[in-house]
């Protein structure tokens, strides 16, 4: 992306802690190790609003392994497992 003002390094949303806020840079379905095919995972993420430029915030975490996570994506909340969230690259 052309986001030159951002000094933070890119990271997968799947590694972020509760309270993290950031902006989606791109989707990298290959990195997720999901049971879904890359195309399918990417399609579903887009359908739930995970597109480049969307603001994300981790609102809640589950008890076991702090998984799944509840992510605010612009103005809706989506529950997703960390495994799939690895495909969402944020900064």
């Amino acid at each position: 992306m052309t986001d030159t003002t951002d000094t933070r390094s890119h990271m997968p949303l799947g590694l972020a802690q509760r309270g993290y806020t950031g902006v989606i840079q791109h989707l990298a379905a290959k990195q997720a190790g999901s049971a879904l095919s890359d195309v399918e995972l990417e399609s579903r993420l887009i359908e739930l609003g995970f597109v480049e430029g969307a603001r994300v915030e981790i609102l809640h975490e589950g008890l076991v392994g702090r998984d799944p996570i509840a992510v605010r994506v612009d103005n809706i909340t989506i529950a997703v497992r960390r495994r799939e969230a690895m495909a969402i690259i944020v900064a």
Binding site: L36, I46, N75, A79, V80, R83
Partner: protein, 623 residues
């Protein structure tokens, strides 16, 4: 001139308020069936527009796109495209959006537009959006999208007036020539481009306040707390089961005394003989003993529908995902399994939200272990006959506690079975993803809940009126014929066909403490679990005469040992006694094999559990 029926279809993302709009439009004029060949629920309703046009409206399964990645979503796609078997192409598609959350629906609408169907965008829950400070330039939105846009408040009286007026206006000038369909499955880049386009349109037409719904955030802070959330979930389930057992009592007793009075009336007015016996023992005490459980069934559906409408169900799935994952279950299985507490049939059908085949199969196999409402009559009868109604630790009703224990055993066994399935069938597999929208909380609306409960109660009563009634007639017949020889002193039932069947099965069931009367009752219980109660009533009524018919519970308390009663409870946690559930499993898995597996494993568990319970109880002196 009478205009032909206008066909509408409701399309929208999950949580868009589609169903409350459907309820607002049609009220109780609804017909629930299945699409041919699949078990996707087909909800159709009817209404008349202000201008007198007869309208049929179909509430299609919620979807985020037309890709059709599950049987439900395929139905929505095929229906809109006019490819669904035996369905009329909709004249007009109503695309329903939650006004507080337009992004995903606008993208879906841009995709829907390619199908060429005439369409209206319905901005539902517009009141909530206004209250949150969201403003929508409706005219501009309509211009940008090239689709008429109308606002609605499904839950308020008159909240759909604009929609009805627009429907009239559009239907009057609907083109009759077929429209161009340029839809095909979108590639990832097209999908992304469509979402960009949707976001651009929203940026132009909608102004969003900076702050999200504060109530949802506050509630979630507690309800989704890693530890607090689980405590809340446990409390909700506990209250639910205490309520089903304790709060329903007064209404149940009222119904019961009503049926008793009716039975006495029949006894008083009719001469003694076959007709009196048929009406009193077969019809009134048989069907009555099942209808008595209506209050409990209404309560359990009340809880499920309230939690669903409030938006809690998705939270429960979130909380349970990893915990259920430990037992090899998907978080999405939580909702089907919770529905199975009402009835395994809708529960098994609801597994269609799980798109991974293995996860879905596991959920189907264990769903019948969730304590369905049909078991409540059996549990209630035995618990009230054998467990004293005293309080323990000052505030917990012992009977309620036993009930809770039975539910808990069902759940624990389900998790154990799932774990075994995971261990033996599904090695080295990557768990299917869990992706679920957590909608903002909404105040449940009385009307929607009432319609939901009404539909379920009607289904239960229809079952009581048909399946259960015919089974009761059969049982009465088996228990009454052949008639005892004149002058015999033994109970009439000892000479009947039922006694012969029961006694033939009795040796098989003796090790678990069941007598031949129970064996007789278990046979019709195959049609529906709750029938066993009525069957016991009939068997003991004919055996013991009139007094016995009035108090099945008291009769059981004198005829059964505590060990037998406990064994019966254990049996009912597992017993695969529901022909309709087995039929649904066959249909959903498309295989007789899986149905056979379910039947066998449950029967084995039931026998083993009863055997264990009975022998332990006898050893402890309860025999």
């Amino acid at each position: 001139m009478e205009l032909p029926l206008l066909h509408l279809a409701l399309v929208g993302t999950p949580n868009s308020g589609k169903t409350s709009l459907f309820n607002a439009l049609t009220g109780s004029r609804q017909k629930v069936a299945n699409y041919p060949g699949v078990t996707v629920e087909r909800k159709e309703g009817f209404f008349v527009t202000p201008m007198g046009r007869q309208v049929s409206v179909v509430d299609l399964p919620g979807t985020y796109s037309l890709r059709g990645r599950s049987p439900d979503e395929e139905i929505t796609r095929d229906f809109v495209l006019g490819k669904a078997t035996g369905e009329t192409v909709p004249d007009l598609v109503l695309c329903v959006a939650d006004s507080t959350n337009l992004r995903l629906t606008i993208r879906l609408l841009l995709e829907l537009k390619r199908t060429g169907r005439p369409m209206i965008l319905v901005l539902n829950m517009f009141d909530i959006a206004s209250r949150r400070g969201i403003t929508v330039d409706v005219e501009r939105l309509a211009k940008e999208l090239g689709v008429p846009v109308v606002t609605s408040i499904a839950v308020r009286k008159g909240g759909t007036a604009d929609l009805l007026a627009l429907t009239d206006e559009i239907s009057a000038k609907l083109a009759t020539e077929p429209q161009e369909n340029s839809w095909r499955a979108l590639s990832v880049s097209e999908l992304r481009a469509t979402q960009r386009e949707a976001d651009r349109i929203i940026a132009d037409c909608v102004s969003l306040p900076a702050s999200p719904d504060t109530w949802t955030a506050r509630i979630d802070a507690v309800v989704l707390h890693p530890v607090g959330g689980l405590i809340v979930l446990t409390l909700i389930l506990f209250v639910m089961f205490q309520a089903v057992f304790a709060w329903a009592q007064p209404a149940m007793e009222l119904l019961k005394s009503g049926f008793d009075a009716l039975g006495e009336l029949v006894q008083a007015t009719l001469p003694e003989g076959l007709l009196q016996s048929f009406l009193q023992n077969g019809v009134i005490s048989g069907v009555g003993s099942v209808i008595v459980f209506l209050p409990q069934i209404i309560l359990i559906f009340l809880f499920i529908l309230l939690l669903e409408d409030f938006g809690y169900m998705a939270r429960a799935a979130f909380l349970m995902d990893r915990i259920m994952g430990g037992a090899g279950l998907h978080g999405r299985a939580f909702i089907p399994l919770l529905s199975s507490f009402a009835c395994a049939i809708p529960g098994i059908m609801a597994t269609r939200v799980i798109d991974n085949k293995r996860d879905r199969l596991t959920t189907i196999l264990i769903a019948p272990l969730m304590t369905c409402s049909a078991r409540i009559p059996v549990y209630t009868l035995i618990i009230s006959a054998f467990i004293p109604a005293k309080d323990v630790w000052g505030f917990i009703n012992l009977q309620g506690l036993v009930m809770f224990g039975l539910y808990a055993t069902g759940i624990v066994s389900a998790l154990a079975v799932s774990f075994v399935i995971k261990f033996f069938m599904i090695r080295d597999y990557t768990p299917a993803p869990f992706m679920l929208e957590l909608p903002d909380y909404k105040m449940p609306r009385l009307k929607s809940i009432a319609i939901g409960i009404y539909t379920r109660a009607k289904m239960f009563l229809q079952r009581a009126g048909t399946t259960i009634f015919s089974m009761m007639v059969l049982i009465w017949f088996l228990a009454s014929f052949p008639q005892p020889p004149a002058g015999s002193t033994e109970p009439a039932i000892d000479f009947s066909l039922a006694a012969m069947i029961g006694k033939a099965l009795a040796p098989l069931l003796a090790p678990v403490g069941f007598n031949w009367q129970i064996a007789v009752a278990l046979i019709p219980g195959m049609a529906a679990r709750e029938v066993a109660v009525a069957a016991l009533g009939t068997v003991y009524a004919i055996e013991g005469g009139k007094e016995a018919a009035e108090q099945i519970g008291q009769v059981l308390a004198t005829k059964w040992s505590l060990a037998t009663a406990l064994s019966m409870l254990a049996w009912y946690i597992f017993a695969p006694q529901c022909a309709s559930t087995l039929a649904v499993i066959r249909r959903e898995t498309g295989s007789w094999g899986w149905m056979g597996v379910t039947f066998t494993y449950m029967l084995v568990l039931a026998y083993a559990a009863s055997l264990l319970t009975y022998n332990v109880a006898v050893a402890l002196g309860a025999g």
